[in-house]
Subunit: 216 residues, 2 copies
DNA sequence: TAGATTGTTAATCGATTAACAATC
DNA sequence: TAGATTGTTAATCGATTAACAATC
């Protein structure tokens, strides 16, 4: 059976739907129509229905969507009903910030280890997790069935490190290094480029000022 | 004069062009054609030329693009030739991680202050910057002409805080809180939703596994 | 000049929105 | 049953790619 390809644009919107539905659930809302949700999320009702129908019919004519059901279904689509073992490679500020981020565990992402090359950090613990040296990585990844690695290290070491991790069983890289990793086809890569995000913000400040000046 | 609207997709690609051109510059490359750059960046040469021509003709027929010139021009488009005063609101792990990120200053983003509500953090310094209490915020923002604020605080306080900052002169919000801020039209908002990024990664792990199972 | 490569127009592709029949 | 709202097809819009004349 051929599964129809879901576009990246749709996938990017799913976590946002999930967040809104979670909030609705907390507020005790039982059902919601695509129109109501459209109002809250500032997207068209048409888009909501199209997006959801990529994965099946979760609603009911004349009724709308059951919030709890839809929340759970989107959770499943996103794989949040599963658990994943995860490590953080690079125990700098960003790495430690991620390690301290408790909510990941609520979603099934278990941080099993934090690694660094700096011997000074050896034994330092972050939220009860001891920072280990990268020499121990291959063994650790295999022993703990680590599937996800967050890379919070300098770009110079990122690709080599990614390959080492993959060789030992890692399936997905959450990449914070300022580089586009060239990795085997079947490896999942998700990039977070903070400085590029800040540059977009900067562009928009200037765009606004440019347009404003022109009108004067 | 009407400026033609540049699409978000184009703006999102600009920082990536900038990064590649910076790397080329470091490698001492003087000129590059859209075709060569296309190979390196894994985008079509046509897209590169289209994107750049939104802002003017930076190349030369028969020659290509001068790397240094194009790098500087894109820098200007992104507003990286200017400087901005910036604060971080929320001195948790993520806030401190951002404060420690030295490279922002290289791009003209000067971190002038870090704020928190927690009195325990008062006086603690991060990279030489003392953490201040949020009571002092309005005065500080005005006195230091703060234009950008990074919000690394719980979603419950984010929108109220954003409004307070805007009242005192902040033009742009770099939002790390898990909420969509509803703010005045002319305020620039750039979101970084880490948990949503991780969910996309999670989706892709599962997608791969689903497709694999189906083929068995 | 001949070759290379841009800038730009036209063609294609994909994503979003509109519309409405199906149905709860 | 009548009203509401989905699921889905068709229409529109926008973004990407292809093609090529302009020109360095």
């Amino acid at each position: 059976m051929e599964e129809k390809e879901i576009s990246k644009a749709v996938i990017k919107r799913l976590p946002r739907y999930y967040r809104y539905l979670g909030d609705l659930l907390e507020d005790g809302v039982e059902r919601i129509s695509s129109n109501e949700l459209s109002d809250r999320m500032q997207v068209t009702a048409s888009q909501i229905r199209q997006d959801l129908n990529n994965f099946g019919g979760f609603g009911q004519q004349g009724y709308g969507y059951n919030v709890k059901y839809l929340y759970n279904e989107i959770g499943k689509i996103l794989g949040l009903d599963k658990t994943y073992n995860m490590i953080i490679v690079g125990a700098g500020n960003l790495g430690q910030a991620l390690a301290n981020y408790v909510k990941f565990e609520k979603r099934g992402f278990w941080i099993k280890g934090i690694f660094d090359v700096n011997p000074r950090l050896q034994g330092v613990t972050v939220r009860g997790i001891a920072i280990r040296m990268t020499d121990d990585l291959p063994q650790f990844v295999r022993d703990n069935e680590i599937k996800i690695a967050a890379l919070t290290l300098p770009k110079e070491n990122a690709e080599q490190m990614a390959n080492l991790l993959i060789e030992n069983g890692v399936k997905a890289i959450w990449n914070f290094a300022h580089i586009d990793l060239r990795l085997p086809e079947d490896v999942i890569v998700e990039n977070v480029h903070l400085s590029e995000s800040l540059m977009q913000l900067s562009y928009n400040i200037n765009r606004y000022e440019r347009e404003h000046e022109i009108k004067e």
